[in-house]
C-alpha cells in the first residue's frame, strides 16, 4: 500500500499545528522542517502569528525557500532585523511563545541530547552541541522538537548526555505526535497509516497511549502550502524520511 501521507509531510504539518494565533514563534539553524512548518502556517492558517528566525527575520517575505534554515533570505522583506542576542534575550525573559529546537536523542521527560552519542569525553559520535536548546528549552513558554527517525535509539529511556532540560511541549516523528503532560511525553496521536502498537514498540521510553488517536490528515490548505513550498520535492528528498 503506497503511503498517502509521507513522513516528511507528517512532520512538517504537525509541527505547524503547534503554532497558535498571535504568538511569537521561532525557527533556528539546522531546522529545515520547522522553517517549512512556519512558512506552511503562514500560507495556510487563517490567523496572524509573529514568525522570527535565526537569520534575523521578523515576519519576512522570503523570495525563495532556502536549503539552509539560517539563510539570510529568511530575513528578506523583514521590517526589522532581530539578531541573535535579541531573540535569545526575548526567550530568557519569558516572551518567546514557541521555539523549534533540534535534538538527537529525546527521553520520556522531554529532555534532549545534542552533544554526543556515547560518553561525552569519549564520544562514539560527536554531535553538533549545545546550540539553542540548553538555554531556550527551559525558558521558552513552549518548545517543540522533531526527529526524522522513530526508534528506541532516538526516543530513549536514558540520554547519553543531558544537553537540555525543561519546557518541552511537543515532539513530532514520522509516525507520532507527543505532548508533554505532567512531566512526561504522552502520545497524542499516531500516523493514521500506522498503529498504536507499532508506535509503542518503536519508542524507547514507556508511553501511555490511552488518550491517543490517529492524527487527523492534512487539510487541503496544508497539502497545497507544502506543495507550493517544495514543488520539486527537493526538501523531501534531502530529509529522506521513511515511516520505517
Amino acid at each position: 500500500m503506497p503511503e498517502t501521507w509521507s513522513g516528511f509531510s507528517y512532520i512538517v504539518t504537525n509541527l505547524a499545528r503547534f503554532i497558535r494565533p498571535n504568538e511569537v514563534t521561532f525557527s533556528g539553524v539546522n531546522s529545515s522542517m520547522p522553517m517549512l512548518a512556519c512558512m506552511l502556517a503562514k500560507k495556510s492558517y487563517d490567523f496572524y502569528f509573529t514568525y522570527i528566525n535565526v537569520a534575523g527575520g521578523v515576519d519576512p517575505k522570503p523570495t525563495s525557500v532556502p536549503l539552509s534554515s539560517s539563510d539570510p533570505v529568511l530575513a528578506a522583506g523583514s521590517t526589522a532585523i532581530f539578531a541573535n542576542e535579541d531573540f535569545y534575550d526575548l526567550c530568557t525573559r519569558g516572551r518567546m511563545d514557541l521555539c523549534f529546537l533540534g535534538a538527537a536523542q529525546i527521553d520520556g521527560a522531554g529532555q534532549t541530547n545534542v552533544s554526543a552519542i556515547g560518553d561525552w569525553h569519549n564520544p562514539k559520535v560527536r554531535l553538533p552541541g549545545g546550540g539553542g536548546g540548553a538555554v531556550m528549552l527551559p525558558t521558552a513558554r513552549r518548545s517543540c522538537t522533531w526527529r526524522t527517525e522513530h526508534s528506541p535509539r532516538v526516543l530513549v529511556d536514558r540520554l547519553d548526555f543531558v544537553t537540555a532540560s525543561g519546557g518541552m511541549h511537543g515532539v513530532v516523528t514520522p509516525i507520532a505526535v507527543f505532548i508533554k503532560r505532567e512531566g512526561r511525553l504522552t502520545l497524542q496521536s499516531w500516523h493514521p497509516e500506522k498503529s498504536l502498537d507499532e508506535v509503542i514498540a518503536r519508542t524507547g521510553f514507556a508511553i501511555d497511549g490511552t488518550d491517543a488517536s490517529p492524527t487527523p490528515g492534512p487539510t487541503d490548505e496544508e497539502r497545497a502550502a507544502l506543495q507550493a513550498l517544495d514543488p520539486d520535492g527537493e526538501f523531501e528528498r534531502d530529509a529522506d524520511v521513511s515511516l520505517g
Partner: protein, 282 residues
C-alpha cells in the same frame, strides 16, 4: 573634507592586504569569528591563516561550521569554545571537526550559544561573570565547572554565572568598511556586535570600501565604529563558499566539493578560493 589617515583628522592607515591581516594573528591566539554557519563568515582570512601555516589557534564562535571544519582539517586548531557545530545547508555534520573531537586532536568547551554570548558579555561589560538565563537541568554547567549564583534579593532563583570570554581577536566579514575602519553589515549581524566588544583586537574583511561620506549619511548602519577596529582588508567575495547577503548566496557545488574530498589535502580547495587573485595582487 576627507580625513587623511595619519593626520590629525584620522589615525594611521588601516587598510592591509589579506596576507598582512592574517599575519597579525600569531600562533596560539584565540580568535572569535563572525557570521553563522555558511553565512558571512571571514572565510578568506581563515584560509589565509591555513596558507600561512598557523598552529594552535582557539576558535570562539556560537555556530561555526566551514571555518572550524577547515581549521581542523588543516591541523591549525588546538581548542574551541563553540555552541553548535555543523556544515548546515543540507551538508550535515562537520566531518573534520567531528573527527578532531572524537580523536582528541582538539579540546572542546561545549557551550549553549547563549552561554557563549554571556561570556562575551562579561568581557564586553567589564564584569567578572555574567548571569545566563536557562541552563537549568543541563549537564553543560557541571561539565564546564560553571558556578550557580543565588539571587541576593531573595527570589530563591538560581542562575548560572558564566566567566568572561575575551578573544585575543575578533574577525568580522563585513559588507563595507570606510577607510577609517568603520564597519557596515547588512541583514542580521549574528553575534558580531558582542564579539567586537569583547575582544582585545578587532580585524575586518570587507566586500568593499565605501566613501566616508556614505557612513556619515547613515551612521546608524555602522556596527563597529572605526576606533575599535585595528585593521581591515578588502576582499570581494571573501565569505566564499558561504553567502554574503545581499551580494551572493552559498556556492553549493563548492561546499559539496569541499565536503566530498576524502583526504586532508586542501590544495584544490584553497586554489579555487576567490581570494587567490587578491593575494596575487598583494
Amino acid at each position: 573634507m576627507q580625513p587623511q589617515p595619519g593626520s590629525r583628522d584620522a589615525p594611521g592607515d588601516k587598510i592591509k592586504s589579506l596576507a598582512e591581516l592574517a599575519s597579525m594573528i600569531p600562533d596560539g591566539s584565540s580568535v572569535a569569528l563572525g557570521g553563522s554557519f555558511l553565512h558571512r563568515g571571514p572565510f578568506a582570512l581563515v584560509r589565509e591563516l591555513i596558507r600561512q601555516g598557523r598552529r594552535d589557534l582557539e576558535l570562539i564562535k556560537q555556530s561555526p561550521g566551514y571555518d572550524i571544519d577547515i581549521l581542523c582539517r588543516a591541523g591549525a586548531l588546538r581548542r574551541t569554545r563553540a555552541g553548535i557545530v555543523a556544515m548546515e545547508g543540507n551538508f550535515g555534520l562537520a566531518r573534520w571537526y567531528r573527527k578532531a573531537v572524537e580523536e582528541k586532536e582538539i579540546e572542546l568547551e561545549e557551550h549553549a550559544c547563549a552561554s557563549l554570548t554571556a561570556g562575551l558579555r562579561a568581557a564586553a561589560f567589564g564584569v567578572p561573570f555574567q548571569p545566563c538565563g536557562g541552563l537549568h537541568g543541563s549537564a553543560l554547567p557541571e561539565l564546564n565547572g560553571w558556578k550557580w549564583g543565588e539571587d541576593p534579593y531573595g527570589s530563591g532563583e538560581k542562575v548560572c554565572l558564566i566567566p568572561p570570554i575575551t578573544p585575543d581577536f575578533t574577525v568580522i566579514h563585513a559588507n563595507a568598511v570606510s577607510e577609517l575602519g568603520d564597519v557596515r553589515v547588512l541583514g542580521t549581524f549574528h553575534w558580531d556586535r558582542i564579539m567586537s566588544r569583547a575582544a582585545r583586537r578587532v580585524l575586518v574583511i570587507a566586500e568593499k570600501l565605501l566613501p566616508i561620506e556614505e557612513f556619515r549619511k547613515q551612521p546608524e548602519l555602522t556596527l563597529v565604529p572605526h576606533f575599535m577596529v585595528e585593521a581591515v582588508s578588502v576582499v570581494p567575495g571573501g565569505a566564499w563558499p558561504g553567502s554574503c547577503w545581499p551580494l551572493y548566496e552559498i556556492d553549493y557545488p563548492a561546499v559539496r566539493a569541499y565536503v566530498d574530498e576524502r583526504d586532508r589535502d586542501l590544495s584544490r580547495h584553497l586554489e579555487a578560493a576567490v581570494e587567490r587573485e587578491a593575494r596575487a595582487d598583494a
